[in-house]
Amino acid sequence: MLLQKKMIAGHFDRLANTAKTGEKAVYTFVPGNLNELIWAFDLLPVHPEINALQSAMRKQSGDYVLEAEKAGHSEDVCTYVKSDIGMMRKGNIGPTGQRLPEPSLLLLSYTGCFTFMKWFELLKQEYNCPVVMLHVPYQADGRITPEMRKYVVKQLKEVVIPKLEEISGKKYDEDKLRAMLASSARSEDDLVAVWDAAKQKPSPIDAYFGGVYYIGPIFTAFRGTKECESYYRTLRAEVEQRAKQGLGPVTPDGKVHQEKYRLVVEGPPNWTSFREFWEMFYAEGAVCVSSTYTRVGGLYEQGFRHDPEHPLESLADYCMGCYTNRNLPSRVDLIAKQIEDFQADGFVVNSIKSCNSFSAGQLLMMKEIEKRTGRAGGFIESDLVDPRYFSAANIKNRLESYFQMLEARS
């Protein structure tokens, strides 16, 4: 964890100093991002979603959201966007208290969510900076066709790369990219080993609440970097050690609790009351052995790796392969498989008000998964960063009833 904190602090320092160093920031989204490509041009990636969730963890997102609503944003829409806009309007102070640089480019990789497009259109109006659109087709039939890949690669070659060259003033260096992709693949191997550890009983990790910490570096600015590689090496060793000792997951209390229920979780977590939310699980002995949110940046356990041999093709596949870019039947397959693979007693859907991409259709998915696995699903509702939509009493009530139901059924 400490390692991760250091990495983040270093990155934000670098961002805060761009005025002096002349480095340029490229804003882009987390799912299916082109991190290695951005680094390959020596540009600095910034992920507004991460800023929004960090603001929520620091209890500032509520104000930001209100600020955006005051500026005319609707109550009904994704609060990630509103938190980001609010933060910008209040001086664009990032999670470490330092000011974030303005974007030199908005790299709109339109992956798995239509809101992304609106988000950067809004930022474009605010910053009046260039935008480059990378349209990533949806896996409507549960697979990537050669035409889809061709379309993305063509955009990378003819639209994205030329723009990055223009912004950075550097030529595209494919060898540099290859080296980073090779590094990414090594981290990815280690992450898969971490996820796999949860198959053991008791699970040494919590793959949802704890999991969001594990995915931090690889999903965001660090994939492809040396620090990232060493982070995952260390993490893997730690987790394998815990597994060997038969220890359960680490929780904010530090205590290892008895593993009473093994759960798979679908949907992003709530960030505004993250700890309180987590506690509702571990206090009852519920351990999340797998989750879909931790796969929004890539489904490595299904075999995908960044590939230095086919750099642009593998970037294209990475973009198209993220969880929310897959159709509902594939998502059902995936969760059902996780439930079997990780021997879960049940699954919980945390339905997020903000995120249509995740949430629309979850109720049907739940029914289908229950039918297919015979395992009961629990359903709760909250929001990512809008504290108004975290009703602790309500969620607790539902979870409690759900756990008692699992207990009664077992």
Partner: protein, 457 residues
């Protein structure tokens, strides 16, 4: 006698159930929920105990009185018992009212208010005797409502055109009833039943049974209930003074309670005062799925309560009125408060009250249909529980919509359906009992009466 107790602390009513060693129901108790949750629990539990004793009393009398005579006898004993209890509360109310009038800020207002108040209270006492006879239709099961309707009716009559005086009287009542509610008047079974026995013995038709009554009453009083375990559930369960193991989610309790009453039930719908739940259970009464509504009055019992107030009719009358509708009128507003306003406006524009009420009942059931669909649809058999199941217009609308959307099937509605959650809790109390753990006995929870907000002011 050993007993297990289930308590369902609802938002509008608090229910308790006594269960014996063989999972047989002994008695039910209910009271309106009020600001003091502990008192509400205590009273519900005491009511359940009283109800259990009356069951015993009936058995005793049946064995001692030949033929069907005992039915009449028990009915009278019960009514007189209620009268005794009611009188005790009236007394308390009178006291509180007088004190409140003494505190009126303007001293000049006090004497005239006292004068009218005295008249009202005397009248109420007289009325009470008539209220408690077998066959009299109760306006409500709760002192609060019975007293309120008499008081307000009388106050309006006595105050005449003097709107200020009326306001003062209503204010006095509103303050005083809170104090009466903060105390239990149910924990004196022996006193009340002796009063009742005396009264009944003096009635010419029961003269012959004097001795039987005395014996049966004495036997009943002598019975001690030993509560082995208590489980609490319901909206307010988190505030019950029980350890965590003695609290169960209301979903589980409703599921199990419904299964107990109707073992073939697979789907349960509960519409209570503050929430609506759709629950699916398996063949053992274990919950497999459930859905609950958000915290909005539209779609639950309070919606109907609010509308009844707006329309100036009693909650009991709402359903029957709606049943008289000739055509349903769709109410556009979802919000309870707006629906109330819309109703008034449309009444002015010439719509029939009955038709609009029919529309309202349908609306509330439609919302429940959504929840049902979400929880997994309706599977045979279907059981409807909660207070709203007492409303016939609601049950009719439900039957119709279920048939239209899920086909014909058995729909269970028990007159005791309001106790479903408490029954489930009592069953859990019995099944949970491990070793000789003695559950919390609520008698230990009696608390001194707190001053009301007005007194503190």
């Amino acid at each position: 006698m050993d007993a297990y107790v289930g308590i369902d602390l609802g938002s509008t009513t608090t229910k308790a159930v006594f269960l014996d060693e063989h999972e047989k129901l002994l008695g039910f108790g209910i009271t309106n929920s009020r600001s003091d949750y502990d008192i509400a629990c205590q009273i519900a539990r005491e009511e359940a105990e009283i109800n259990s004793r009356f069951a015993i009393l009936r058995r005793e009398l049946r064995s001692q009185v030949a033929g069907d005579g005992h039915e009449q006898l028990i009915a009278w004993l019960f009514q007189k018992y209620r009268l005794a209890q009611h009188s005790r509360q009236l007394e308390a109310l009178a006291q509180a009212c007088r004190k409140a009038v003494d505190l009126l800020p303007n001293a000049a207002h006090r004497p005239p208010t006292h004068a009218v108040l005295d008249q009202i209270l005397t009248e109420m006492e007289r009325e009470a005797v008539g209220l408690f006879t077998p066959g009299a239709v109760a306006r409500s099961d709760f002192f609060r409502d019975v007293a309120a309707s008499s008081f307000l009716h009388l106050a309006e009559k006595k105050a005449g055109d003097d709107a200020k005086l009326l306001d003062r009287l209503i204010g006095t009542y509103d303050k005083s009833i809170l104090q009466v509610e903060a105390k239990s008047y149910t924990n004196a079974f022996a006193d009340y039943i002796r009063f009742a026995a005396d009264a009944v013995r003096r009635m010419p038709e029961f003269e012959a049974h004097g001795e039987a009554i005395t014996r049966a009453v004495a036997n009943t009083i002598a019975i001690e209930f030993r509560v082995l375990n208590t489980i609490g559930t319901g909206y307010g369960r988190q505030r019950l003074p029980f350890p965590k193991e003695q609290i169960r989610s209301e979903i589980l309790c409703h599921g199990l309670g419904a299964h107990f009453m109707f073992p073939k039930t697979r789907t349960v719908l509960d519409i209570g005062g503050q929430d609506t739940k759709a629950i699916q259970v398996d063949e053992n009464g274990i919950v497999t799925n459930f859905q609950m509504n958000d915290r909005c009055a539209a779609g639950c019992g309070r919606y109907l309560g609010y509308i009844a107030d707006e329309m100036n009719v009693g909650l009991h009358e709402l359903g029957p009125l709606a049943m008289k509708s000739r055509k349903q009128v769709k109410i556009n507003s979802t919000c309870t408060v707006f629906a109330g306003a819309e109703l008034r406006e449309r009444l002015a524009l010439g719509e029939r009250r009955e038709d609009m009420l029919a529309g309202l009942h349908r609306a509330i059931i439609l919302r429940a249909m959504s929840l049902l669909a979400r929880s997994g649809g309706v599977v045979s058999e279907f059981t409807f529980t909660g207070g709203v199941a007492k409303n016939q217009a609601a049950t009719d609308a439900l039957r119709k919509l279920i048939a239209e959307n899920y086909g014909e099937m058995t729909i269970n509605i028990s007159p005791d359906s309001i106790f479903t959650g408490a029954i489930g809790a009592a069953l859990f109390a019995k099944r949970d009992r491990k070793g000789d753990l003695i559950g919390v006995d609520l008698k230990a929870l009696q608390k001194p009466v707190k001053p009301t907000a007005q007194e503190q002011r």
